[in-house]
Symmetry: C4
Subunit: 222 residues, 4 copies
Amino acid sequence: MRAAVEAAKADVCALHAYLPAAELVAWTSGNVSARVPGADLMVIKPSGLEYADLTPASMVVCDLYGNRVEGDYAPSSDTGSHAYVYRHRPDVNGVVHTHSPYATSWAARAEAIPCCLTAIADEFGGDIPVGPFALIGDEAIGEGIVETLEGSNSPAVLMRNHGVFTIGASARAAVKAAVMVEDAARTVHLARLLGPVTRLDDADIASLHDRYTNVYGQKGAK
Amino acid sequence: MRAAVEAAKADVCALHAYLPAAELVAWTSGNVSARVPGADLMVIKPSGLEYADLTPASMVVCDLYGNRVEGDYAPSSDTGSHAYVYRHRPDVNGVVHTHSPYATSWAARAEAIPCCLTAIADEFGGDIPVGPFALIGDEAIGEGIVETLEGSNSPAVLMRNHGVFTIGASARAAVKAAVMVEDAARTVHLARLLGPVTRLDDADIASLHDRYTNVYGQKGAK
Amino acid sequence: MRAAVEAAKADVCALHAYLPAAELVAWTSGNVSARVPGADLMVIKPSGLEYADLTPASMVVCDLYGNRVEGDYAPSSDTGSHAYVYRHRPDVNGVVHTHSPYATSWAARAEAIPCCLTAIADEFGGDIPVGPFALIGDEAIGEGIVETLEGSNSPAVLMRNHGVFTIGASARAAVKAAVMVEDAARTVHLARLLGPVTRLDDADIASLHDRYTNVYGQKGAK
Amino acid sequence: MRAAVEAAKADVCALHAYLPAAELVAWTSGNVSARVPGADLMVIKPSGLEYADLTPASMVVCDLYGNRVEGDYAPSSDTGSHAYVYRHRPDVNGVVHTHSPYATSWAARAEAIPCCLTAIADEFGGDIPVGPFALIGDEAIGEGIVETLEGSNSPAVLMRNHGVFTIGASARAAVKAAVMVEDAARTVHLARLLGPVTRLDDADIASLHDRYTNVYGQKGAK
């Protein structure tokens, strides 16, 4: 139990380095959390600390209602919403939130990103959907995330006038989805500026997503 | 007194590193200043020196009329305007100036950035306003800053055909505002390129700004 | 033979560092391969590994039908298509695939990049062409690459709704083409956003491409 | 004489580091040269070498007709044009060439950058002009540079369908102008995408340029 908590703190701390490296965040505007395996606990970023100052010891351990159970700092403002996702999605073990600029620009217009690239079919299995507007600080955003991603292949949701949330079977997978949603948002933005784009056929999307989910990477290695 | 001056010189020198890191400046086109606590003095960047060459010893100490009182270099061309802000806004202890590209593009059109994202409501508490055009070198820009931000929640002002000035209760807070105004300017720019954006309701803006000001970060930590 | 394989593994591993450095890839979304001189073999990136984790030992050796003959990892999903290119283009010794954002935005619109800059004439000798849409995982993409580049001066092809493939007399040359196609795609994108661009005359394109191919660099050094 | 040549080689080599750092170049697509004080000689980048591989010893010394007089490598393809500038502009001691993307996008449309920002008035003293199209490899580009900048305050010229050349009283000043022209091109591009911009009054431009030329930096330091 202690080992699982400490491992999650180290993992969540290290994964935050991807956010500025991939230019997904400004100042302190994004956070990563992970479920602690085998416990009703999660680990999340402390609120308002700069990424360069994070250490495993500064991570905050909360229960799945967002109450702090360990740590010196107040947890992220988004803790209640992360917690809501973990309570309602037992398959989810990692959640990431950013205001990455291209993805957030789609969220500002409340426009889904159309599945017009093989890379979107691969990672998102269809269009990247828009979730509702909600105020920050309680669980309302979490409800919007869970409702929007219900029955979707997408690990990412564009929260209206706000930013991006991604989920994953691990915190690393959620970070990857946060990187990929910004990349997709940017490329489709650029394409659309000079003309229309064509969505892929549903059969091609299904085929690409299936291969990516089941063959890509080292899953298919013998 | 000596200790406060030296601390301010070290602080202002170190904070300049954020400007190129966040891609807010080209060559030497931005500066940070801080009020020296308990004195009618400010510390500011020397004019025209490259960021990589700055040291605490190269910082310039001026009175609040922009006259150099200590230092080997001529102070920034914007010193008179920083000084004007300190004289007229006793709550302000840091001022930052940049020509960050997205924010300056709004300034070039003399167009305020609408409060259409939660991150803008959080940090700026409303639209980010436009200030008047003024020549560089005396206090005219300072007058425009003070006048425009009078009664505004925003710590940032887009100076017409020029660039951005931000203020803060500390120099660090002003640097943060400079980073956040560029991020907001960029995201709203991107959104607007492909369609209209909706401003948040005033009640939501007030609620978000209040929470961010009073709860976000470690203020709420017990 | 062993020495040639080991040299190719070291070379292909090292060349992958250019992809994130030039911001051509997100997460693991690009790959480099090289033909092993004097053998019907190629070396390619393992599937799904992050760039920072690549070592020469993790590179995968395949035959020119994409079958793994050496290595601990499953090869890139694109291996079959790289292999197809090597079988059909004996002059090609390196292949690179990316989803670099500006180039991919042209691919998403299925629009060739017009040869309106001297740098495009130099490196590509004409317009940068669009290839067909094809699913990932077998040789279909390779067929599209070979067919599209038949008789073209361009070492790059924009694969519809997918991304970019480049070829070269060496893997380094293919990497260079991948860097240059993104640069060209970006500059022409920016130009076109604010007005039309004029294609260069065919005679000027031919003259520039000839000089670049035969004189530029250290070829002309005495 | 030897000392002046060696100093110029070290200086030109070091200044090349600014080009990739400011994202002005892709692969090897830009070069810096400097006049050797007190001699009819110039130092320039070798053709086609990557920036990370440059050393003072690899720099090429040429006469002012572009003939190599010292060095192991063939000089840049643009040597004849740099040389032409030095012969016809005795006040110029440094020349820089890049294909920086925003500036080159204006060059692709053959559109001058209007002086609508104080930073443009400061550095360029007016609009940034467009020069003619010319083939690469002889002096034709140099002629276009000299002719276009005749009587202009601008140290930068946008060469049609090609890229940017900047000049300066030192190679460092020419590098600065190359950084600033890209910054100006980007900001005005962004502004123009969402609406028209207003050019500054000629009197304001003259006043800003005069102050920047005569007071900015450490010139005014006592």
